[in-house]
Amino acid sequence: MWMWLRTLLPELSGTLPPARSDRDGLDWFQVMDNQRLAVLRRGGIMNLAAAPGFAVFWSGLCFCLYRYVGEAWLLLPANLSLLFALGLFRRYRLIVDTPTSRLSSGAQGYLELKGTAALPDGVAFRGLPHLPVTVWLPGYVEDEPFLLDDGAGRCLLYPRHAEIVTFPGDTPFSWLKAIYPGQTLYVLGELHTLRASDAQINRRERMAAVLADWKHNQHQLHQHFDANGNGQIDPEEWQEVLTAAERWVDADIREQQRVPGTHVMDGAKAGQLFLITNVPPERLATRYWRAAFLHLAFWLGVLLSLGQI
């Protein structure tokens, strides 16, 4: 593996690098180890149960239980399989039954978004040296926010509470599970839009605040509105003050309305799934459905066979 990496990255072929790490102290085996654990941790138990390798492990475990412990003990993995089937079926239905929203209209609530991954403005690099730029790298950059751009708008994703399912991108690092800038993303979660402050849009309150501010500065008030110079603001002059304040507030509200809000996804309410993935949703849904079916079949199979015994 090390030799292969050296051929890919000539800069690592310096004089006498340590066998497992490069000149910058990057231990590739450590990277892979960290990745493996982080992918499992962030994907969660349900995605582990949907992995093809899990079927092999599960079959081996069941065989050992049957052979060395007793067939009745098969009920334990069988009932766990039922729970896996329910969790996976729930994920499948969420992907299939959640409508896709466009960020241009910014519909609020639980929805799915499709777009491309991007780094936030002002961030040029994220990840590890000698690796391609990533927006999310399990084991290293897991909680930093990144963007989803659907062509009509952008949404800031906070992956801290997300279930993240990745597959290796189109890079020479076929073992590296990460999300790269420009990759197609699929996100399922609760969208909300942050604005400057909706309360500030209230025209009457803003008028009162502006007038109070102007009254506080009597000198300037007289300078601008005391037309007859008698040192007082007469009723007619006060009308002018009100008109000016209205104009000022209206212009300010217009400016606020022009500024688009920031769309954010940082979790989902009521225990709903917050899913971020670079796997095409159709493929992921099929994977969940197949895995759910297999787990359910296993559960039923064990119950029926034990019933016959």
Partner: protein, 191 residues
Amino acid sequence: MNTGLIIFFSLLGGIVLWGILLYNQLVVLKNNAAKAWSNTDVLLKQRNAELPKLVAVCKEHMQYEQATLQKVMEARSRIANAMQSGNMGALGAAENELRIGLGNLFAVAEAYPELKASDSFQHLRERITGLEDSIADRREFYNDSAAINNTRIEQFPDVIIARAFSFKPFRLMSFHSEETSDVDVAAHFTS
């Protein structure tokens, strides 16, 4: 404990858990559709709040276009009534009327250079057009949510849970034929 008893309870537990899962999914779909409607409702209200301002600005310059302005305001009040009564059919029709009314209003406004140059008019036109685009997007989103809900509550085995717990279908916001039919460009040139 008897293995047979464990098997029986496992089967029973599996069926009950599956039922709970289906019920919860239907609740999620119902809430999604309700939320999608409230998303549209918010924008309809915002747009309705902007229309009187637009009409007031236009009135200052368009003394001879009272009928056009009147049509916009009538459509607006029909929308407000339909929203209040939750009548989707009437809402669709009123929305269509308003869209035509606004189209006419903006077309007529071209003949009034002072109005066109007005900052307030420009801003309101921009804002209302932006809101119209967002309403169209959100209407589509609502229709998707409602259609998914309506399909699920009629599918087997969901229909059993849906009937037992009285899950109701959502009415779609209908598109009128004028909106979805192809535009006859030739007719515009020959007329």
